[in-house]
Amino acid sequence: MRTYELIFVVDPRVSDEDVVTMTQEYKAMITAGGSTITSEENWGRRKLAYPIEKLGEGKYVLLNISSEGGATRLPEVEHRMRQNDKILRYLTVRTDEDLKRAARRKQAAPAASSTPAGSEAARDGDTEGAEPGEEI
């Protein structure tokens, strides 16, 4: 299973409702490609660290995506974002490998923390191992 984070910055002149509908469109594209949206965060208006297209602010939207391997529609989604003038920036990051690696390190040195149980189980099919603190 692969997890991705897709974050994009929308022109602040776009109304909140339009941001939502835009997000819906992209979400529909992603789910149509066989992936699921695990969570969604709308950060709202945020000051940009530097002006982009002479704009000082942007509206941030973050999507967490999970996909069962194989093809995703993400390249397509990215392509559409590139063409959309209202999107100032976007970034897709594949997170499962990094999170898994982090979880593995956590397990090696038992520490009370939240391990992403989903990715942990996917790695070795051992759900018991997700909580190293329980065994001690």
């Binding site: 940009l48 660290a49 982009i52 920036r89 999170l99 690696r101 040195a109």
Partner: protein, 77 residues
């Protein structure tokens, strides 16, 4: 109080991420990243911050991602 001998201590630098057991450096965590971008918004070198090579690498990646999203600046002028 000591004799006039050259005794100077250098504080041992410890990798913040190893100490805090942070294994995934999130590019969205602006507060965390900000600690590693001084005045001119450059990435703080390892030799100053004491970050281990491994974590510096992750940090670098995270900072560059955050810059792209305008969460942190490339430079201050």
């Amino acid at each position: 109080m000591a004799r006039p001998r050259k005794v100077f201590f250098r504080r041992r630098k410890v990798c913040k991420f190893c100490a805090d057991k942070i294994d995934y450096i999130d590019y969205k965590d602006v507060k965390l990243l900000q600690q590693f971008i001084p005045e001119r918004s450059k990435i703080l070198p390892r030799r100053i911050s004491g970050t281990c090579a491994r974590h510096q690498r992750f940090l670098q990646q995270a900072i560059k991602r955050a810059r792209h999203l305008a969460l942190i600046p490339f430079t201050t002028d």
